[in-house]
Structures are given as C-alpha cells and as structure tokens.
C-alpha cells in the first residue's frame, strides 16, 4: 500500500494529498506515520512536497467561501440531481443508515438504488429496515440484492454519480466496490466507517483528524479511498435510534423498565456515549451529496450534538416510558461477565462530536433524546414488545452475584 495520505482542506486528490503545510507545527504527525506503517515515502520526502501548493479551482472556491457568510460556504447548488447507489449491509446497527438515506434522497428528487448484500429471500430480510423496503420502492427507488464484489453485475451495468458503501469493515470487502466505482466513472464515493476506530483518549471528544487504531479494518478502507479517489468523504458514526433499526438500542432499556426489572449498567454509569437519531446521519450524508465540492476529502463524525451518560440514557428511557428506573452498577471483571454481551454500549467513554460537518457544511443536528425516545417508546408499545415474554439470563446472573432482587 502506498503512503498514508494527509488530506487537508486544499489537498483532496490522491497525489496532492501528501501535500500539507504547517509541518513545523505538527511534528507528531509525521512521527506517528513512521511508527506505524511501511511507508514508501519518508518524512523528509513528505517535506519536499510541502512547498507551494497551487489549489485547484475547486479548492479555491471552497477557500474563498471563508469570507462569505455562513450560508455562502455551500458551493454546489442542491438543484443538481444525482444517481446514487447505496451498498447496504444486511444486518447490524448500521443497516438503518441506508434506509433513512435512501428515503431522504428520494424525497429530494435524487434517484436511488439500494444494493443489499446477500439474498432477497434470506431470513435477514424479514427484519427491519428490510421488511420496510417497499417504502423505498414506492418512493421511486430501486432495490437489488447481491454480492458487492460483483457490483457491476448486480446493478445491471448501470452507472451512478455517487456511491455510498454502508457495508464493508475492511479493505477486502470494499475495494472491489471502490475499484468498480472509479472505473465506471462514479464521481463521489462515500464510506461509512466507525467512530470506534478512534484511539481511546482522556481528552474527549474524538475529533476528526485525531489518532485512530492502525489495526482497525475501516482504517485500511479510509486510506485506500483517500489515495485513489478524487471526491470522497468518510463518515464515522456511533450509536443510532430510529424506527426501522435492525439492532436494539433503546429497546434494551425499555425491555427492563416496562417489566420493572433493575437495569444493570457496568462501571460507574458515568461513561459518555453518543446516540443519534438516524435522521441526523441521513441529513449529514445528504448534505455531503449535495455539496460534494465542499465536503470532498473530509472525515465526518456522523453523530449527534451531544453525549449522554449510560445512567442518563437509562433515566431518559424511563422518563419516556413514564416509569421509574432502578439502575444497578456492577464491575464486569469481578463477577466474570463479558459486558459486551451483557450491555449494548461500550464500557468506557466513547464520545465523538460532529464538528467537521457543522463547520464545513453548516450541518445542524436535530436529535433530541428526551423527545425522540418518547416516540420510540410509543412504537415499542404499539408493536407489543412490552408484552413479549423475554429471558434475562445474563441480567439474572449479574443481579444474583450482587444479591439484588429481580422484582421491586
């Protein structure tokens, strides 16, 4: 693999992405590259590229926008309609992103094809959001199924302006899609990465441009994309709520609250996390499609404006349900519990802020957990999940070792 690109605002193409000014003020940057990868370029070579950089007309326009008011920063008009392909995962927390994004694009007059990985007949398709794909079709979108490694075949040789890969977690999976997109003339490539790749820090929040774990699969994709693509953007989400979610989020809390069960939370409960409504992710993606020039070459934390503590999330869910909550803290290690299995969120501060989207695109978050959770709770009850018989084996194990009674 070639050198790690350092994309700055004025260096979005692959060759010039090695160009960066202000090297003197960021020696730690070049050091971190030397330490981690088999670079073909040494730091000194990088320095030699650092002199006069002639910005392309595209970059000049985005630089010029600094002197205008905030609304003037958006360069490309939204009137340009795009043909968008979404390669979507068939399960997991990110599945919902493609669903919301497809619907929003369609509502704005863009044309959308959503390629879901695997088989249309698979059992996985019985779960949301796939069970609601008729909504995409009736809005004028196309739904296809197949193997992303054969994307050209699956889309029947169609061409697109934009591709979003909301599926792969490593280069092996995404590379075929990127390569096909480039060769078939797709102008803009977007990738859903993960905020989970940030190195843990004692100085939150995670900000775009900060150190990531070199071993993470997504990192390989991000690097490759930046190297080979002209107009690209990468999105790093955390957790999501929203109707059509494939993975439980708030439901985990509701399940316990409506059954008057204690809510076991590992650690102190003070850990911060970021839970966004899927519509926020969708609006950020849409803004990037409609402002490809300004967005190009950027990483965006795809999260809401605020952090919530784990205890806070439990309390907000209880408030939404109009019930009280009994939070019980435990130390997973000392009672032999794998908190990854017992609890839906990371047992640590995990908090990114969406600063790039706000500053570059004027994006505004609309997630309002207290309000959004009320709506989520209404649906939770409407589908009868509050009455569904459930097992809480891990909870029981935790509570037993803490000698906490299950029922109030």
């Amino acid at each position: 693999m070639a050198a790690l690109p350092l994309a700055r605002s004025f260096a979005s193409s692959s060759s010039s992405s090695l160009l960066f000014s202000n090297l003197a003020s960021s020696p730690s940057t070049s050091l971190s590259f030397l330490a981690t990868s088999s670079l073909s370029l040494s730091a000194s070579t990088n320095y030699s590229y650092a002199s006069p950089l002639l910005p392309s007309p595209r970059r000049v326009s985005s630089l010029c926008s600094t002197s205008s008011s905030s609304s003037g920063r958006l360069v490309v008009s939204a009137a340009e309609k795009k043909k968008v392909l979404i390669v979507n995962t068939n399960s997991g927390g990110h599945a919902i992103i493609g669903f919301y994004f497809a619907k929003e694009l369609l509502s704005k007059g863009h044309s959308v094809t959503i390629l879901t990985v695997g088989d249309e007949a698979s059992d996985k398709m019985k779960k949301p959001p796939f069970s609601r794909f008729s909504e995409i079709v009736s809005a004028g979108g196309k739904t296809v199924w197949g193997d992303p490694a054969e994307v050209a075949k699956v889309v029947g040789g169609e061409s697109f302006d934009v591709v979003l890969d909301n599926n792969g977690k490593d280069l092996d999976t995404v590379r075929p899609v990127i390569d096909w997109a480039k060769s078939s003339g797709v102008k803009q490539f977007l990738f859903i990465s993960s905020a989970g790749i940030y190195k843990p820090t004692e100085e939150p929040p995670h900000l775009e441009g900060e150190v990531v774990k070199a071993s993470a699969g997504h990192v390989g994709v991000e690097q490759y994309l930046a190297e080979v693509y002209e107009s690209w953007a990468v999105f790093r989400p955390q957790y999501m709520i929203g109707s059509g979610n494939n993975k439980d989020c708030e439901e985990w809390f509701f399940d316990r609250i409506v059954r008057d069960r204690p809510v076991p939370i590992p650690g102190s409960g003070m850990q911060l996390t970021n839970i966004a409504h899927a519509r926020d992710l969708s609006s950020m993606l849409t803004l990037v499609v409609e402002n490809s020039s300004a967005a190009s070459g950027n990483i965006f934390n795809c999260v809401s404006d605020r952090a919530v503590t784990l205890d806070g999330m439990a309390r907000l869910c209880a408030q939404a349900a109009g019930k009280s909550v009994n939070i019980v803290h435990y130390d997973p290690e000392s009672i032999g519990i794998d908190s990854k299995k017992a609890f839906p969120f990371r047992n640590m501060h995990f908090y990114a802020e969406p600063r790039a989207a706000k500053d570059i695109l004027g994006w505004k978050g609309t997630t309002n957990l207290p309000e959004d959770l009320k709506e989520r709770y209404e649906e939770y009850v409407k589908i009868g999940r509050d009455k569904k018989p459930m097992e809480f084996a891990l909870d029981d194990k935790i509570l037993e070792s803490l000698k906490v009674p299950v029922a109030a």
């Binding site: 994309a7 971190s32 600094t66 820090t201 100085e203 900060e210 690097q223 003070m270």
Partner: protein, 380 residues
C-alpha cells in the same frame, strides 16, 4: 507578551500540538487532518476592526487579580483608555512573569485607577457618571444589585460585558451545555443568573461570557496548583470516585482574547457565550496532563469514595464531582474564536510562568489527602 494579542492568524489546529498532547500519539495512525473547519476562524473580520480602530474609555470592575490583569493589558495595547475600579486592597499593577520592564512600565503609566467599594452604590453612580465610561467590563460582579447602579450611571453606555459562569447551567446527563440550555435558579451562581436577567431587562447592549474552569498563571483558584503541589511533593493524587468525570479548562489568556473579541462586535450584542478549552478532560486525564506540563513522572492516582470520609469544612478535591463541560462552538462560529492553548500547552504555560518559578497562591495542604490515604497527620 506577544501571545496575549488576538491570535486570529494562528491556525494551529486544536487536535495538533508541538507537544505530544494527546496521550496516545505514536502507536496509532493520524490519518487525515481535516483542518477545514479552521477556516471559520477567519470569518467576521469586519466587526473586530471596527472596535480596534476607535479608542474607547473603558471601565473594568476589578482587574487586579487574574482575568483582568491580562484583559487590561490587551485593552491598553489596543489603544483604549482603561480604568480599574477596585478598593485598592491589592496593588493596581503587578509585573507579570516574562513581561519586560519596558512593557510593564508602559502599561503602568497608562492604566488608571478609580478607588472605591462597588457595594457603595451611591459612590458607584456618581463616580461613574462623572467619568462617562463608554464600555464596562464587569469581571468581579456577583449580584444583580451591584450592576444596576452602573447601568443607572451610564445611560449612554455602548456595551456592558459581563463575566458570568457556566456554573449557572442546570446539572444534566445530556452534555455538553449549550448557551440555550436550562439554567439552575438555585445554583451557587444564581447571582450571575440574576445579573444576566437584569441586563436582558434593561435597554443596554450587553454581552455575557460563561467560562468553565479558568486556569493559567496567577490563578487564585487552586485548579492546576492543587495538582502541582502534590506532584512536586511526590504524593499520590487522590481523585473521588471513578476519575472518569469530565471537566473542561480554559486558559485565562484565551478568555482575555474572548473578552476583546466581543468588544464593539455586533455579533456579540445581547448574546451569551460559553468560553473555554476546545477539548474536555477526565479528572484522571487532568492529573496526567499536569504532570506532563511540569515535567513530572506519571502520577499515582488513588480513587476513593468521598462518602466514606468526613473532611469537615475542607474541600478534598477542587472540582465539582460530576461531568461539567460546555460547548464553545457558538463563540467559534459567530466570533471566529478558537482557543490558542491546548490543555498540556496551557498547563505548561501556567507552570513555567507561575508554579514552576516557586510562586503559588495557597500553601500546600495535604490534610484531606492524608485522611484518604489513611496516614496519621504530621504536624509541621
């Protein structure tokens, strides 16, 4: 003192530093430096130039202790006529560490003093009316009652700039605090809230600044000093509960810059701004950052349950035992304000100019530490 001057041109991104300020730099990969958002810093240049070009008659309530010491210098350098209203208990001027004799002499010769007690409302009214100040910076006001006579005395006041506090925010699980968040009418800082309400109700052009924890050389609140004392003594740092509580520090020089930036700035008219550091920090992280700043080895941190101890009237830890941090994006986007100092840089600045030179405000007191560590008290 070049660093005190408004640093609009410096586009050093918050996530980078000449010092390896993030604790895990070298094993990871710094991928893309999307510094684009820094461009916002350059936005509202017009407003700033308007204030800088015309010299104003400015009154600072206070100004001899901490924030005002830096603010007054910036204002004098910009050519304004600055008066400090104080009781005269502390020296009106003091030479700052690192400040040249020439600069200090120049500043001292220009700064004016109005001696009085701000609680003597009649005196405040008459003395201020007589001077006809155009701008008032209220750095030490705690109660609305103290501000009313100032407004009464100066009907043609161009701007009243108030140092409030992020302490007015109602405690929340859902953070950071934004300027629009709920405030706590019962908080220890309710006087600040009442002052903000007074300003809103009167027909005056006001701006309110809400800092979080302020730090930097000359800090009289034992924030960084508390850690430095322990680090210097080679003592463990006792931190309540998990040490994961998140707080936020803002360098006093960045705060002074913010106070300058709002002067004569239309975008700041009748606005509240949170002003603090760009990033937040855990209690444990802060202890380590202080160690880095002072060149100390990584400290031993002891976590304890404060409920298990009785410290009497003493405070065992200088921060609120809760998450407490505020978003500074409003100031960034409306005023183009980006803090100059990262945490370790700022703490290093504080150490080099203050504690590291042997100066501090409060003597080391390890009584509560010893209670926690279970040691018997040693009498000096």
């Amino acid at each position: 003192m070049a660093r005190l001057v408004a640093v609009q041109q410096q586009n050093r991104p918050a996530s980078f530093s000449a010092l390896p300020s993030s604790f895990s730099d070298f094993n990871g990969t710094r991928l893309h430096t999307s510094i684009q958002y820094k461009r916002k810093v350059y936005q509202p240049k017009g407003a700033l130039h308007v204030s800088a070009s015309s010299s104003k008659k400015i009154l600072i309530m206070g100004g001899t202790r901490f924030i005002g010491v830096f603010l007054s210098r910036l204002l004098v350098k910009e050519g304004h006529q600055v008066t400090l209203f104080t009781r005269g208990k502390a020296p009106i001027t003091q030479q700052l560490p690192g400040e040249s004799d020439q600069d200090y002499a120049d500043f001292s010769s220009k700064i004016q003093h109005l001696k009085g007690d701000r609680k003597d409302f009649d005196f405040v009214k008459t003395s201020l009316a007589a001077e006809g100040f155009e701008i008032v910076y209220d750095i030490n006001g705690r109660e609305a009652g103290e501000v009313a006579p100032i407004l009464d005395a100066l009907p043609n006041l161009e701007q009243f700039i108030y140092c409030s506090s992020a302490g007015v925010y109602l405690k929340s699980d859902y953070l950071p605090h934004f300027e629009t968040d709920a405030v706590d009418p019962k908080s220890r800082h309710k006087g600040k809230l009442e002052t903000e309400s007074l300003l809103q109700s009167r027909d005056v052009n006001w701006t309110s600044i809400r800092p979080v924890y302020i730090y930097g050389p000359l800090n009289y609140n034992p924030v960084e000093e508390w850690f430095f004392h322990r680090l210097k003594a080679g003592r463990p740092i006792p931190i309540p509960n998990s040490g994961l509580q998140i707080t936020q520090l803002g360098h006093v020089k960045d705060l002074a810059t913010a106070f300058i930036r709002v002067l004569g700035n239309e975008k700041a008219s009748k606005q509240v701004f949170n002003i603090s550091g760009d990033k937040y920090v855990t209690f444990d992280g802060l202890a380590k950052a202080c160690a880095k700043a002072g060149g100390f080895p990584e400290p031993e941190i002891i976590h304890y349950n404060p409920k298990e101890f009785d410290f009497g009237k003493k405070k065992a830890f200088p921060f609120r035992d809760q998450h407490f941090f505020a978003s500074v994006e409003k100031a960034k986007s409306l005023l183009g304000l980006t803090p100059e100092f990262s945490l370790v840089e700022g703490l290093t600045d504080s150490y080099n100019l203050d504690f590291g030179r042997g100066t501090f405000r409060k003597e080391a007191d390890f009584e509560t530490d010893d209670i926690i560590l279970g040691k018997s008290l040693v009498t000096a």
